[in-house]
Symmetry: C2
DNA sequence: CGAGCGATTGAAAAGACTCAACCACCGTGG
DNA sequence: CCACGGTGGTTGAGTCTTTTCAATCGCTCG
């Protein structure tokens, strides 16, 4: 149970050393959009960002408010969701360590169209809009990275729309589980049934019944709320 | 029947004068992303773009092929769609005069994830990738416009996902009709039932039954395949 | 004028949702 | 340490929506 141990290590370090981490030490720096920054720019970023420790279920921003900057997840997971007209949440994305958050509405020069809330204890940095824009203006690699990121998300969402519109709930669940494998990597997927249902776009009861089917078919196993994928090929097959 | 006359005028001018239009004379120039170009840049664009007349149902690009540049619709309408695993099309967007097309996958540096096909006779220009990128590199207003456009589309798609995932087919149809009002402006909506069904994400038969309901409720009127919105407030009310 | 494709209708079946009840786990306080 | 309360998870039954399949109708184009 390496991940259980890992979790304690993480929790310990969160409370002790997190909050104002330096980007230099951020394990995700190289793989994310800020990997393109030069030393002086990274120092600029470090000087101007503010980091914060968030408990579970804390809000980063809500639909309708105005973006003042960009969030960068140092450690933790965040759900990004839109509240439908009847009050039901639709999860659009689960953001993880290393992801940037909240730049879409900022660039669109508009109020947030989605809300963001932590799913677990998280350490998250905030970069004010003007500082982020300034970095972009002076670094074409970062700029192109942002454009590429936006475009990639756009094509990804087109696929998401297609799946939501055309597929059965069973297929959609398989698809979402595949997406979540990428977020949770080696760890088991750890979401409430309600959140999972709100990602798949179905009723909680329907979701639970389908999870049961998947379990009986040997595709997944569950331990309380945690879901482990056992048979990826079979899952892929259900999704299509 | 002003639009019928209009149609012949359009058809005439298409065959006579279209193809290699100059951006200077393009009625949509000021309102679209190229409005930011300086004179010399516009001349550069004019010199390097290639325009083409397309008949109905002609293909601009298909899913899986590699983007070589950007399309700019001078006149006409284009459906952008993704083909689901079972071969069913999911329409993501209907692009109209003035819209730029095909830049998402180009920026994502990946193969097209969607296909594009004309819905009517259209005149469409093509700007090679390197020329477009060069323009972007030298014009920060265009660049920021692109970023804003991408971001706006992204937030729009989040709403689309929410609607597809949470709402009944009836609500989704109302929502799509509202989107289409923006595309067709004063003209009646002119799409095949199948295309419309593929936009809403439902079976053609279901779509037809719902259109009938809407007609009986006085929300729309139909004339062969053309749909006219009669009661916008009522339609908005159905959509939510 | 005929062929063919798109539009429409009907009936039956499948899928998904709602509502109501019950269970299980978790942290709290006695 | 254990009982308690509450939240989140699970199950069942009935209902409604939506799909599917089959058949018919009616434009539109050659």
């Amino acid at each position: 149970m390496a991940f259980l141990l890992n979790r304690w290590v993480k929790r310990y370090s969160l409370n002790q050393n997190f909050r104002n981490v330096s980007c230099e030490n951020c394990p995700k720096l190289k793989s994310n959009l800020f990997g393109a920054l030069e030393l002086s720019q990274r120092e600029f970023l470090d000087a101007n960002k503010k980091c914060n420790f968030y408990k579970k279920k804390q809000t980063l921003f809500v639909e309708g408010s105005l973006p003042r900057g960009v969030f960068c997840i140092n450690e933790g997971k965040v759900k990004v969701f839109k509240t439908g007209d009847d009050g039901k949440e639709q999860i659009i994305q689960i953001a993880k360590s290393g992801d940037l958050l909240g730049f879409r509405s900022m660039f669109a020069q508009d109020a947030y169209k989605v809300s963001a809330q932590t799913l677990e204890e998280s350490n998250i940095c905030f970069i004010p809009k003007e500082d982020f824009v300034s970095l972009m203006d002076h670094n074409s690699v970062l700029r192109n990275g942002i454009i590429k990121e936006l475009s990639t998300e756009l094509t990804g969402q087109a696929e998401f729309i297609t799946n939501m519109a055309q597929k059965s709930v069973r297929q959609r669940l398989a698809f979402v589980l595949i997406l979540l494998m990428d977020v949770y990597k080696e760890e088991p997927i750890n979401l409430s049934r309600e959140d999972l249902a709100n990602f798949v776009g179905t009723a909680t009861e329907t979701l639970i019944r389908l999870l049961k089917d998947f379990k009986e078919e040997g595709i997944i196993s569950t331990e309380t709320r945690k879901i482990t994928i056992l048979d990826v090929p079979k899952l892929l097959n259900v999704a299509r």
